[in-house]
Assembly symmetry: C2
Homo-oligomer: 227 residues x 2
Amino acid sequence: MLVWERPEPPDRPTPAPLSRERIVHAAIRLADADGLEAVSLRKVAAELDAGPMRLYGYIATKEELLDLMVDAVHAEIHPAGTGWREVLQSLAETTRQAAHRHEWLADLLGGRPQLGPNTLATSEAVLAAMGDVDLNTVMPAVAAVNAYVTGAVRREITERRAERASGMSKRQWQATYGPYLERTFATGRFAALETLVRDGPHLDADQTFRAGLEFLLDGVEARISAR
Amino acid sequence: MLVWERPEPPDRPTPAPLSRERIVHAAIRLADADGLEAVSLRKVAAELDAGPMRLYGYIATKEELLDLMVDAVHAEIHPAGTGWREVLQSLAETTRQAAHRHEWLADLLGGRPQLGPNTLATSEAVLAAMGDVDLNTVMPAVAAVNAYVTGAVRREITERRAERASGMSKRQWQATYGPYLERTFATGRFAALETLVRDGPHLDADQTFRAGLEFLLDGVEARISAR
DNA sequence: TATCTGTCGATACACTGTATCACCGCTGAA
DNA sequence: TTCAGCGGTGATACAGTGTATCGACAGATA
């Protein structure tokens, strides 16, 4: 084909300037809006007017992007307070709140080693505020609170999603699972469970989270004051 | 093409008899061997000499298969003991052991509502053994233990994987992350973290898990004996 | 001005979950 | 006995995934 007929190459748009930060924020926007499974390298790249392969200059793998997202959220977590107990409580509460703002965090918490600067800074803030508590206690105490928060947040977000998926309300949720549970209880094999569901307290998510956290902190406190 | 030339349809092999149980066990075998990401409907089906679409007679979606897997593992979890404390402890320990046998469980724990028969039976066993403890305590206590176990197991398995990925030994792990941590600590911004890593106790996974669990149970015990 | 270099994105690959649908053997009815 | 219908099965297809490869271009260097 002669030059005269051949079209010129398309004006290639000046490539949008990219940075890890922009990439991560785009990914977080997507995840906030449509959940973690909406985060694909193609969509993130498209959000930034770039080709998918361009991202590989900034990250080596999708997992790394997820790591960066988790670390970015940790920048929002600022445990504060006076005394070790307030600080651990604050760590738990603020982490939980972050998960409310970014539900996908629940899918990622505890799933990968976290060594990013913001995550380390959060740990640092907590540890620095633990005062002169014995390191032999600090270590497992902080680990336990982190484990508890991970699990509690996961369950809470999972429940929230189940409710939402079954039609936006607690009533709807009961309508979905109620009959199944009725039939299951009717077998008589789950007596204790049945009385718990029927006669047990109906705690909301806040109360449940705080109650568990208090058990844990009470236990830590007993150990600390025992020495 | 004339009939004479046209080949007969291949002897279709008598389709292997299928069942939800066989499917779930095949999936678990795959996951045990190569991790959860090795579980694809195609591979599971191949394992059973079936086409992928055949599975959809037994499950509606891959997520349902994962739910079934989790429930199947709960059949291995038999919390036992006398008194609420022993039972909760046993719940935690046996769940953890199950996760050691099936590491992929860590990826799924807390990630979906669990209402399968085996899961319910586990809860039932726990609740039945809680004796006459006040329901207002039982509810959050069991929830807290479950949350703790979820988080602790996740972290433990995550660490185990990181070690394995970096070359099969704790020494290798240190060789991989050590230098990075050194450089990071060198900034001086993580003083407390640094002293913890340098001077803190080096607890193994068992100890960490049990220590956290004990904090939690001590807290529950304080509440129970306070009334 | 010519060459080198590093970056970008088009293309490709292997794979995913699942929708669709033609076909086949079976069952029940005429 | 024949035939219609039906349900289960798997081939095919589709849209999407993460990522390897590699040609081509822009800018830097000589």
